[in-house]
Symmetry: C2
Subunit: 420 residues, 2 copies
């Protein structure tokens, strides 16, 4: 199937040229294109919904599960959200060209850094047609070209939306190759993207863990990815009871299927007798009652719950289940989190300044929190304005990825004829 | 050979534990260990030189080429440099724990970033035993654990040095697993490192292009790497003649075998007649005369030089050879650099403010310079104090990589009981 390889590679090569052309685009031009996309999507709402209805019909006929269908479905509301998202991204400051850290060297050179796009970003995603708009908008605003490879189930929706994006680019004098939808949904087109480090600068997969893990394993292009969200709340010896109960309840129940939901609760042994029965009562009365799985010591306090296995400490339930462990001290909590967690988001509840400082420094996670719900770990809550995803990687960018995460910094050296 | 795999994996796992333990180490402790390493290396200078002499003898017997032997050889001077390097790294500010960008969100959360180590860094290198010291010191100072895989040719030198590093760690209360030399020089030990993303957070290869390219192709661990250095100087229409001649001469001749040496000279057509004959005269009189290879138009001005082929525009000569091309304007120069260069370091010589601004923004290289020699692209010249290498990647870090390049930032969220 040499044809698919060639098609993907020529698309990426065109995107690379568009990326260079984008470096001449002004912020005003990029913002105008984003607002125009919002206008066009609003005007062609009926076309998009019709295309999506066809996708839905075919997906249902193929027997896709309810969750997948839910993610595929577009409504008047989701289309409004897409348009609102575009307007918000247009309103964000342009990160490209920001300069800082300039120092004067002894030889008179002024050396500092300029924020620049990464180049060509490949987005590989499933179902959600709104990713087509979000990803294109974030990449464009940050000066990157992108190639979008959506799933076959959303083909008509994505094609319709991509057509409007192309039109907005063209009508605002921007290169239409800056956003290219891969119009081939064979697996081989993904493979071709993953094997093209000379044409694609970074791949961002959006989807379930199995998709992301497969892409990370196969890619020869750098990947910014999100794997597990095994988040912890640790109730310290010095915790305020009210904050402990409120945060531990919220972190599990406000939404139980998100990556920033708490999956394991750690409680200092001195507070377990007081806290756990009260919390268990709250969880039992939640809209979706939470099933608890406890360590041996927890079972002594809550004898009616199930025992946790070793596997529980490394499981992302993505549902109303919570593992509970009593620890002897802060150090044990930190070791448990670093060993069994997924380095995503972890919180301590404490009134102790020193315990908070130790936790913040020693927990090796993308987000570390004091007296706040892990559920806050997302780009909008952090003030990024928008996010393309949450990174569980350690290099380049950790946690919610906004416009800055789609850029890096190059060195700028200003001289007046210096030689070495 | 399951044994090698197990050995590498258990070494990396021990390093991971040491990395967590390092988060409790103070800056003073790390600095004391670095200064102690310098002391020990000074004291055991004779042992190191004796081990190195054995390595040299064996390498010569095996027929290693002169360049390889040169990189392998330690002298009184190189040992002094190692010690001086350790003292310089001890004197640098500790990047770990730096906090910034804190913002107050409407809900009262304070959200900002803390600079943190990457975790376990794998260094894969050839010959140069000084990398053992440099890499260990930079990783330790930046709070990372490291596992070092040197070449078989330097085995005795590396083992002797690593023993002193271990002793300095132990005698300063730091975990000795924070720096581990892989005492196996089979290829399979490299393979085991490259396939362990759950144990090693990043790999930094140090060596020739073929080693680096092979590692990048095989690695499932993120890699920070240096490939080609195809650097350009562009003499703009608005160039000052004196600066143009001085920089173009220096960028090629001050050292011709380094990655930041100019490999292609681009000259604006309006200046070629004036500049090229003068430069050619200088190059001919250099200590090592520079062989020029020109485009068709260059040959009209310098009829006695060889014609450049398409391949010349993408060749890193690493020697006294220079390709020369006349361009019609700034845009053509930028397109040539982005298309044929290696995104390493490129300079414009100009007195035009606008041309400088356009060049700085549009050239997609790790370092972009105005009126300065490309030879300045290195960590010491940039004021980093030390460098572990120069990155030609686009994500995480570009150009010279110092202590900051060995760290990333995590999010810190400070609340008082907020729930979502």
């Amino acid at each position: 199937m040499q044809n698919i390889q060639d098609y993907v590679r020529s698309t990426a090569a065109a995107a690379k040229q568009a990326f260079y052309a984008l470096s001449n685009a002004s912020t005003a031009q990029k913002n105008a294109a984003l607002l125009h996309m919002a206008e066009l999507i609003k005007q062609h709402r009926a076309d998009i919904l019709a295309a999506n209805a066809q996708d839905m019909e075919q997906a249902a006929a193929k027997g896709l599960d309810a969750a997948m269908l839910d993610r595929l479905k577009l409504t008047e509301n989701t289309i409004d959200s897409m348009c609102e998202g575009l307007r918000q991204i247009a309103a964000l400051p342009d990160p490209v060209g920001e300069m800082d850290e300039f120092r004067l060297r002894p030889n008179g050179l002024q050396i500092g850094k300029m924020r620049v796009p990464l180049g060509v970003i490949g987005i590989i995603y499933e179902s959600r047609p709104n990713v087509t708009v979000d990803a294109a908008a974030l990449c464009l605003k940050s000066g990157n070209a992108c190639i979008l490879r959506g799933g076959s189930e959303a083909f008509r929706s994505n094609t319709t939306i991509a057509g409007l994006i192309t039109r907005a680019l063209r009508e605002n004098g921007l290169p239409t190759d800056a956003v290219r939808l891969i119009e081939n949904t064979d697996r081989e087109s993904v493979g071709a993207m993953l094997q093209s480090p000379e044409l694609i600068d970074v791949i961002i997969p959006r989807g379930g863990k199995s998709l992301v893990a497969r892409i990370a394993a196969e890619a020869r292009v750098p990947v910014i990815k999100h794997l597990d969200g095994i988040c912890h709340v640790y109730i310290d010896q010095a915790a305020d009871t009210g904050k402990a109960l409120a945060v531990a309840y919220n972190a599990k129940t406000s939404r139980d299927g998100t990556c920033n939901t708490m999956e394991t609760l750690l409680v200092h042994t001195a507070r377990a007798q007081e806290i756990l029965p009260a919390l268990a009562g709250q969880y039992a009365q939640a809209e979706k009652p939470v099933e608890l799985r406890g360590c041996t010591r927890t079972l002594e306090i809550l004898p009616h719950i199930q025992a946790a296995t070793e596997e529980d400490w490394e499981t992302e339930y993505l549902g109303p289940v919570l593992s509970v462990k009593i620890v002897d001290n802060l150090a044990e909590a930190i070791t448990h989190i670093n060993t069994h967690g997924s380095h995503h988001t972890d919180a301590i509840i404490t009134e102790s300044y020193t315990d908070a400082q130790i936790f913040l420094r020693a927990v090796d996670s993308a987000s570390v929190m004091v007296n706040a719900s892990t559920r806050f770990a997302d780009g909008f809550e952090y003030g990024l304005g928008a996010e393309i995803g949450i990174s569980t990687d350690k290099i380049h960018v950790r946690g919610p990825v906004g416009l800055h995460g789609l850029t890096s910094q190059k060195w700028v050296v200003l001289g007046n004829g210096q030689i070495r």
